[in-house]
């Protein structure tokens, strides 16, 4: 540094520019590392692409995701094969109007797949936000307060952490699925709540561990010394330093939530089908897997397409999460 600044004080010297580097923050550094990770970038672009698909679903989908009635149903036919599949029955032979065929009620599989993107993204991101809110608050308070409060909060966290989560979701769905609360947003609200209520424990443990080591650091002591208030130390000094592991955890919570919805819908107790054409969340990939399983011999593409959709979105998020972890932790 000393040589650089002395050279900079002598203008006109050739080659000086090469020594000057723009200021790089931790975040731009991490972004640079993430950008070099091909797998993570493919994942990021795929998620971005799916978000666009979810928003533009009404424009992109060739048909309405709802099941047709009357003449249209007769024209579409139930369990019409995918476009490239020939069948002896003229009503079952694939047509390019319905590229992935139709389901048991004549619904267009491709359109349902496009609309299903919405549920998967919403069900991934919203519980993630709730989970982080609860988990980060609990972890910050518990770690910073210490003492009896910390030990009671952590005991509570341990119990929540030990709950067998998928069983808990199943029981919550059985208990509340038929109530008004359980029907709000086709049952999505219930999934959000039950997922967040259990999953915060891992985040709380993670954040608490970070806080415990951070609060002993000199910069926190310095802040105390100049009279900064406790809540300001927490939000301005400690929280920003715990962000990196929180972001990594968030990237892994999303696929967990997506799979949870799919599993519940697969068991027939997830989101409830809504046939109203104005509903923004008419169907989900988990539901399509559930239907595709019973129609596995008649029309395999319901199952194949939705299975591939779920598999690829979870791979994308896990690849992104791995990339973020490598990028945000320069020690590895």
């Amino acid at each position: 540094m000393a040589t650089t600044s002395s050279e900079m004080s002598r203008p006109g010297q050739p080659g000086v520019e090469e020594f000057q580097r723009p200021v790089r923050s931790l975040w731009s550094d991490a972004w640079g590392r993430l950008r070099r990770n091909k797998l993570a970038m493919i994942g990021l672009f795929y998620i971005f692409f799916l978000s666009l698909v979810a928003i533009a679903a009404p424009v992109l989908a060739p048909h309405s995701p709802a099941r047709p009635i009357g003449a249209e149903l007769r024209e579409r036919g139930a369990y019409r094969q995918a476009a490239w599949v020939e069948s002896n029955n003229e009503k079952k032979t694939g047509l390019w109007t319905y590229p992935l065929g139709t389901d048991s009620g004549g619904g267009d599989v491709l359109s349902r797949l496009i609309y299903g993107t919405r549920v998967s993204l919403v069900v991934g991101f919203i519980p993630m936000i709730f989970t982080l809110l609860i988990g980060v608050t609990m972890g910050l308070v518990s770690g910073y307060a210490g003492g009896a409060l910390d030990s009671w909060m952590m005991r509570f966290t341990d119990v929540v952490f030990a709950l067998p989560d998928i069983l808990f979701f199943i029981i919550v769905q059985t208990a509340f699925g038929k109530t008004t609360f359980g029907r709000t947003f086709n049952g999505l609200l219930l999934i959000f709540v039950s997922f967040s209520v259990v999953s915060w424990a891992g985040v709380a443990r993670l954040v608490r561990g970070q806080v415990l080591s951070l609060k002993e650091k000199e910069f926190v002591e310095a802040a105390h010394a100049v009279g900064v208030k406790n809540n300001k130390i927490l939000t301005r000094h400690i929280l920003p330093n715990t962000l990196a592991p929180i972001i990594v955890a968030a990237a892994f919570i999303v696929p967990g939530a997506i799979v949870t919805e799919a599993v519940l819908s697969f068991l027939g107790i997830g989101i409830q089908p809504n046939t109203s054409p104005t509903n923004p969340f008419p169907t989900s990939w988990g539901q399509m897997i559930f239907e595709g399983k019973s129609g596995i011999d008649s029309q395999p593409w319901i199952l194949i397409s939705s299975a591939i959709a779920i598999a690829s979105i979870t791979i994308a998020f896990v690849a992104l999460g791995d990339g973020l972890r490598d990028a945000l932790d320069p020690r590895n």
């Binding site: 030990a162 059985t174 109530t179 599993v263 027939g268 299975a307 598999a311």
Partner: protein
């Protein structure tokens, strides 16, 4: 060590109690009882059934029984406590501690939950153990190979397997496999119940799918922990003093990198044994998971409660073994907690 063990075992009790409490509370919220049939049932019959299953008692605490007993001049605190707990929940817990999980509703009280578990659990256990064996036998070598031959084709294969295996949910791979088997080979999921007695070929497909996630996880863990150990000074020392490749790998690297892998085995096996209900549903395995999914549909509350408690116990025991094994392998953990 003994104190550490006892503390860990005692910590399981509140977890199980909370699981029981939450499950019981949620089951009470559910609309529609097990005796709600399509056709109207005689109210007297419902009353007898309710009395038989103890459903006529208060849900949580029985204050009327306490006041009745004290009116009769009972002063023994034990008797009074028992009267206080003479509720649906109290009786359930007291019986559950004694290993009685109550009669299943769907059998109209002819079979107990613990009998169903006893009958069906061995199938799930076999499936889980086979999956765990597969996960270890394939995952470990793949991870070791990936770390030893870093940045070669072996490494890439192990990385791809690990990424796909950990991220794709098993029910997706399971369904695609059944589809593939039935389309290409004409193999249907096996239905006859005697096909699942003992270790038979029927277990191959479901065990492979069930073990996939854990296998990928073990591969990842082994690979990263081997890579970390590879860089340690004592490995360089061992090589510097002229030790052969084989000895360095088996004596120094493998042993030290196995610690994190061994510690995940407990919860992994518990997870495989209890987490198989979707796989059982797909491959029509008549195990306890399949029974659980069925009991959700038929609203058989005692079966749901019993199975949940049983699963929670297994998961807690799995976690307990990790803590204990970890305590043995790494003495620092013991002194900390």
């Amino acid at each position: 060590m003994i104190g550490f063990l006892i503390r860990r075992i005692l910590a399981v009790i509140p977890v199980l109690f909370v699981v029981a409490f939450i499950t019981f509370f949620l089951m009470k919220q559910a609309k529609g009882g097990p005796f709600d049939q399509e056709k109207e049932v005689n109210p007297a019959t419902v009353k007898t059934l309710n009395a038989r299953f103890g459903l006529d008692k208060p849900t949580w605490i029985n204050t009327t029984a306490v006041s009745r007993a004290s009116d009769q001049g009972v002063a023994n605190p034990l008797t009074l406590t028992r009267a206080f707990l003479d509720s649906q929940f109290g009786n359930y817990i007291i019986n559950a501690v004694q290993g009685d999980l109550g009669p299943t509703y769907s059998s109209k009280g002819t079979e107990n939950v613990q009998d169903v578990i006893k009958r069906k659990f061995p199938i799930s256990l076999r499936l889980g153990l086979l999956a765990a064996a597969l996960a270890v036998l394939v995952g470990l070598p793949l991870g070791i190979l990936g770390a030893l031959k870093q940045n070669t084709i072996f490494d890439y294969i192990s990385l791809i397997v690990a990424t796909i295996g950990t991220s794709v949910p098993t029910f997706v791979t399971g369904l695609l496999l059944t589809l593939f088997l039935s389309r290409v080979f004409g193999v249907k999921p096996i239905k006859p119940i005697d096909a699942w007695d003992g270790y038979s070929t029927a277990y191959i497909a479901p065990a492979c799918i069930l073990g996939l996630n854990t296998m990928a996880y073990i591969t990842r863990l082994t690979r990263s922990s081997m890579l970390e150990v590879k860089r340690q000074d004592y490995i360089r020392t061992a090589r510097a003093k002229g030790m052969g490749d084989r000895v360095v790998i088996t004596r120094h690297m493998l042993r030290n990198s196995m610690i994190p892998v061994v510690t995940i085995l407990g919860p992994a096996v518990a997870g495989l044994v209890t987490g198989s209900f979707i796989i059982e549903n797909i491959f029509r395995v008549p195990g306890i998971g399949d029974e659980f999914v069925g009991s959700i549909g038929s609203r058989d509350y005692s079966m749901i409660m019993g199975a949940t408690l049983f699963f929670a116990l297994l998961v807690a025991l799995g976690n307990l073994t990790v803590d204990v094994v970890y305590g043995f392998l790494d003495p620092r953990i013991r002194s900390k907690s």
